[in-house]
Each structure stands twice: as C-alpha cells, then as structure tokens.
C-alpha cells in the first residue's frame, strides 16, 4: 500500500506534503518525495490535493497488488478515478461528490 510520485509531473507545490496525515511527504530539490513508502495508510489525500496528477496509488504485492495504479482527477463536482493495469488496460469510475453513497 503506497504511492508513487512521478518526478516529471511534480511541480513542487507542497500541497501533498502539507496534508499527508502521516507527515510522510517531504520536498527535496523542489520535488515531492515519500519518506517511508511502507508507512503510507492509503488514505489518498495526497492524490486529491495534487493538481498535476503526479501521484498514483498502488497496492503492495503482500495484499494482492499486481502493479496496477489508481489515479484521480476532479472536474467541478465530478471526480474520476482511473485504474491502469500493467497490460495497458484501464477502467474509470466517476463519482459525483454531491451525491450520497447508496449503501
């Protein structure tokens, strides 16, 4: 369970470092870096803060991860989550943030 920060997309804005509930992200040479990837809780707060889509989320192999990544993009009230698999296939789910869960 952890995140990967794409150094080419990160602009060093610090928003992720600011909100991480575990203080796990620091800024080194104007880019975000995760201090200890094993300590990530998986809350995805950093993904939601990132304005350049530089952060992706993945499951460790010990809990069934196979290398897919989850990313998120907001447009108005719509939040689109994308799962990209290693074979290149992907799926998206859009959630209206103004709508309640059905369950």
């Amino acid at each position: 369970m952890s995140i990967r920060i794409k150094i080419t997309s990160c602009v060093g804005c610090k928003r992720c470092a600011e909100v991480c509930p575990g203080n796990l992200i620091k800024i080194v040479n104007n880019r975000a870096v995760i201090r200890r990837e094993k300590d990530c809780w998986g809350c995805t707060s950093c993904l939601k803060e990132c304005k350049t889509g530089a952060i992706e989320f993945f499951l460790g192999a010990d809990i069934g991860g196979k290398g897919s990544v989850l990313s998120v993009e907001d447009k108005g009230d719509l939040r689109t989550w994308t799962v990209k698999r290693l074979d290149g296939s992907s799926e998206t789910i859009t959630v209206n943030t103004k709508e309640s869960n059905k369950y």
């Binding site: 369970m1 952890s2 600011e18 909100v19 991480c20 509930p21 575990g22 203080n23 620091k26 201090r35 990837e37 094993k38 300590d39 990530c40 809780w41 998986g42 809350c43 995805t44 707060s45 989320f57 993945f58 499951l59 460790g60 192999a61 010990d62 809990i63 069934g64 991860g65 196979k66 897919s68 989850l70 939040r79 989550w81 799962v83 698999r85 799926e91 789910i93 959630v95 943030t97 103004k98 709508e99 309640s100 869960n101 059905k102 369950y103």
Partner: protein
C-alpha cells in the same frame, strides 16, 4: 556538532491537542461563544488528519425517526455487556442529531427520500457521501475568529503541577523547534492507539490497517504520565474487515445484506451472537476450527449493486475498489474474504480511555478529554466524537468562568532536553523500526494478538510486562536524525506506555466478558463480580488498579469533585 532545539513560548486560554473529529468540533463550539483564545496543536494538518482522512462510509450514530436517545444508550450497553457509562452515553445520544445537522449545514451530503427525510441504513445509521467530511470540519474550526491552528506540531508532554494542568510541550515535525504552550485549560483529543500489536499485513503494507496508524496513543500516554485515571483499557477493539485491504465490511453487510459464511459454505452469521465482539469472535473461531477462510456472501448481488459498492468504497477506502478492479473480479462474482484486525485501544468503539465526568473533565484539574481518547462511552463513531468535542468545550467554558490564573515554570526544560538527547544520540545497532517490530511481536504473542486468536493468560501477560519494560531502556538509546525521526521515537514511546497500562488492565479483569476483545483463558467465563469499571492510575512508576461501581439506569451525571486541585470524588470505589 551538537543539535540544539530553538524554543517558542505561546500563551493561550485553551489548548486543544489534536485537530481531528472531536478537536475540530470543540474549536467550532468555542467559536460560537468567541470569548476565549483557542489554539489547536495538530501533528499533521487538520484538513486531513485523524480518523476521517479518506472519508467515512455512513453516519453510524444518529437517532432515527421513531427512536429516542435512551434506545441508543440501551443498544450500547447491551453490545458492551453492561460495562458502559450510561450518563455519558445519554449526553452523547441527546446531541447526535444536532451535530449531524450542523455538518449538513456546512456541506456534508446526506441522502434524502422524496419527502426530504434522511434515508436510513439500519436502526441508527444514515447514508451520506463522507469523502470530504474532514475538510468540512477543518473549515468549521478555522472559520472561528478566536481559533488559531498550528499544524505539524507534535505534543509529547503535559505540564502539570499539584494535579492541575497548565500547558503542554511539543516540537515541530519539520524543523528543530520546540513549542512551550501555556494554557488555562487543555482539551486532549488525540484519538486512540493503533500499532500496539503486530498488524494484519506486517510487511510492505504494515500501515494498511483499520485505525489511522498515526494515532499512536499520545493522549493516553500523556495522561498516564500526568497521573490521570484511565478506564476499561482491557476492552480492546478488533474490527471485522475485508481481508488484506482492511476496508469496512458494514457497507457490504448492511448495504447489500451479505451474510457471514465459512469456507464450507455454511452461514455462521448468528451462531456466536451478534454483539460487535461476537461477530469478530465467530470469524476467529471458524478459522481456528479449520472452517476458514470466511467471507461475506456477495456473489448474489447485481451488477448495479456492484457498481454502487465500487463508488462507496472510493469515498472511504479506495484500496478496496482498486483491489476488485485490479483482480478483475468484483464482489458480484467473488465473495469478499473477511478477517479480524489487530487489537486497538479506541474509546470511540469500546469503553477504553480517560476516566471522565459528564462534562468530560478528567481527574487532572483543567484537563478535559473528548472523542476516541475518552472512555466510558462505546459506539460513539463520528457524531459521538463531535458531541464530546462540544460537551468538553462547554465544560471548559464553565471551568474558565470560575476564574483561572495562568501559571508557568521551567519544567519544560527537562522535556526539551529529552528531545535534544534523542537528536544527539550515537547511531546504535537497534533502529526505530526494529523496536516497533519487537513491541508488536511481544504484544501479539503474549497479550492476545492475531496469531494467538486474541487469547491470553496471566503467565503470558507477566512475560509481556517484563519484555515491554525492557524495551524502554533500548528506547533511550535511539537516535533521531531529524524531528521526523523524533516523531517516530515518540510514537513508539507512547505505545510502550499504553502497552504497560493495557497489560495491567487485561490482568485485572479476571473474567471473559467480551470474546476476542478480552479473551482471558485463565478465566473463560463471565463473572458477576466484574460488573464494575477497571480503572488505573500511574503512581510511583507503577500502574495501580482502582475498581469503581457502575453508573447505571438513572442516568445521574457523574461530576468529579475537587478540593483546591486535589481530586476528592471520582465515583466511589469497590
């Protein structure tokens, strides 16, 4: 070169330690009166700190139409087999709906039917989109003119003189700076304790746990060290969760009515009882008897229901949706495997925590507690923690109205020199990570962790005490490379402190009232003599057990009495 810490002193009327659920709502409440200067010290950032970082699946404590607050008290009492504070529960129940409506006014999305009424999920629950509940609460706190927030400051010690609190000391987790905060009253709202026991996924995903891994029992530890009384720590909480991702099961169990099923295809849903602890116990027993793995039977749900589950999980535990999509099989095709988590200490779900009175005052004068850190009132969930924030704030306003003088001395110097010691220790063989693993292994093996099916006995507990005590010596030798390292050291120190108190509590309740939560193999049955609270205080570096009679039925609020700063009544002794 020796690393030194710069010190900043701050004066405030009220210090709130921890800007999570209870802390933010307390700050919001102080803002309604606006009279006092309030400071929140938060070790992360209040926007996403505490239990609500990823969101929450439902409001699980709400008085639905046709029900009354007493119903909620009765439910909690039954679920906890009688060991609750009915006065605390009633005061929570009476305010649950008000705090829910305040959240809705501030932007929380709650599902309504065509008549504008909340849609319920079971007897006490309503359906929401809880993804942004923490940013909403943070805004409510920050909007108050008399409230200041300092993020990324980790408070480690309370300053107490003659049983009265006068402030706290902490450090900036990102720079070599200490804060000495002088306050007339302190509200502790630091949450419960995770990471005491070896977790479900001890390897790469060690922090993929139910409770926030960053809630490490700081409040309990500060209270214990300041001589505050704790209650019912032995009522551990173990959550029944989706295997691996440790995501909630309630959304599936209540949402699509999936039943608990063992590996032989037998439904064991009610075989072991339906109390919270018994649902965990049932799954644990089925596994222990060789009938595992255990599941929630979801393979009969429709594709539409599956799609809704994907969305619901993205709003609170995205890893579960990722696991379903990544594996190529969703819950409509494959039953969801379930397991119990490692034991946590958390007063929002069980009765563990500070022994507080009805105004949420602790046994240390001027020190209040709310939310997961406060004991006596299980099944608080989010809304109960909000209520406790409110009630503690009102209690503090009353306390300050009596006229409190600020006091300060130089006792903070010892605490700051402790920080400097860790920063200047030589590098040794034992690392922070090793010490954490050692603590978790000891607790797992001798104090009823996952690998022992949550069972323990006195011989094992005595060994746990001896071994955990030994780790304190190793702790003193750890080196912090920076204040982030210092944070990690203090997070272990806090947990070791909680472990020692927990062990004494587990030993003291010589019965098994709650399966799995406190499965004492020396005393496998319930015992009427233990219809009491098991409380404790630390005196002369020893944990002393105090047994107190139950506060029952008439809901008469328990209010502590002090003569000067000395506690003279906190509920009688057995």
């Amino acid at each position: 070169m020796e690393k030194l810490i710069q010190v900043e002193k701050i004066n405030t009327d009220i210090l709130i330690i921890g800007g999570g659920t209870a802390g933010c709502y307390a700050a919001y409440t102080f803002g309604q009166n606006g009279k006092h200067k309030v400071l929140i010290a938060e070790k992360a950032n209040i926007k996403r700190s505490g239990c609500l970082a990823a969101g929450v699946n439902a409001i699980n404590a709400y008085i639905t139409e046709g029900r009354v607050p007493q119903d909620y008290v009765d439910y909690c009492k039954k679920d906890a087999k009688g060991i609750v504070r009915e006065d605390l529960l009633l005061s929570i129940s009476e305010n649950l709906n008000e705090v829910t409506h305040k959240l809705e006014e501030n932007g929380l999305v709650i599902l309504k039917d065509e008549n504008g009424k909340y849609v319920t999920r079971g007897n006490r629950n309503i359906k929401i989109n809880g993804e942004n509940i923490k940013p909403i609460l943070a805004r409510m706190a920050e909007a108050q003119e008399n409230v200041t927030v300092i993020n990324h400051v980790n408070i480690t010690d309370l300053m107490v003189k003659d049983n009265k609190v006068f402030g706290a000391v902490g450090f900036d987790v990102n720079s070599q700076k200490a804060y000495v905060i002088i306050a007339k009253a302190v509200l502790i709202a630091t949450g419960g304790a995770a990471g005491l026991y070896r977790p479900n996924n001890p390897g790469f995903s060690r922090h993929k746990m139910w409770y926030p891994p960053f809630n490490t029992g700081a409040g309990y530890a500060m209270g214990i060290n300041a001589g505050a009384e704790m209650t019912t720590l032995e009522m551990r909480f173990i959550a029944l969760r989706c295997k691996d991702t440790i995501a909630p099961t309630g959304t599936i169990a209540q949402g699509v009515r999936a039943k608990q099923m063992n590996g032989k295809g037998e439904i064991y849903e009610t075989k072991y009882g339906v109390a919270t602890c018994e649902r965990v116990y049932g799954t644990t027993e089925e596994n222990r008897l060789g009938n595992g793995p255990c599941y929630l039977k979801t393979d009969e749900i429709s594709k539409e229901q599956e799609d809704e589950l994907y969305k619901a999980y993205l709003n609170m535990a995205p890893s579960q949706t990722l696991k379903w999509l990544e594996g190529g099989q969703g819950p409509a095709e494959q039953n969801v495997e379930i397991e119990g988590t490692e034991p946590y200490i958390v007063g929002g779900h069980t009765a563990s925590g500070f022994w507080v009175d009805n105004k949420r005052a602790t046994t240390v004068k001027g020190l209040y507690a709310a939310g997961d850190v406060a004991g006596g009132a299980p099944q608080k969930y989010v809304t109960g923690a909000l209520v406790e924030g409110k009630l503690a704030a009102l209690g503090i306003e009353e306390f300050l109205a009596e006229g409190q003088e600020a006091y300060s001395d130089d006792s903070w110097e010892t605490i700051v020199s402790q920080y400097e010691k860790f920063l200047n220790n030589e590098e040794e063989n034992i690392t922070i990570e090793q010490l954490e693993e050692s603590m978790q292994k000891i607790m797992d093996e001798y104090a009823g962790g996952i690998t022992k099916a949550y069972q323990f006995n006195e011989t094992g507990l005595n060994l746990a005490k001896e071994k955990i005590t030994g780790l304190f010596e190793v702790l003193e030798t750890l080196r912090a490379h920076d204040t982030d390292g210092l944070l990690q050291i203090y997070e272990i120190k806090e947990r070791l402190t909680v472990c020692l108190s927990l062990i004494e509590h587990l030993k003291a309740r010589k019965e098994t009232r709650w399966h799995s939560f406190a499965e004492n193999k020396n005393y496998p049955d319930e015992d009427k003599n233990f219809e009491i609270y098991v409380n404790s205080i630390k005196e002369d570096n020893q944990i002393k057990i105090i047994k107190r009679p139950l506060v029952v039925d008439d809901y008469k609020p328990l209010i502590f009495a002090f003569e000067g700063n000395k506690l003279v009544d906190a509920g009688g002794e057995v």
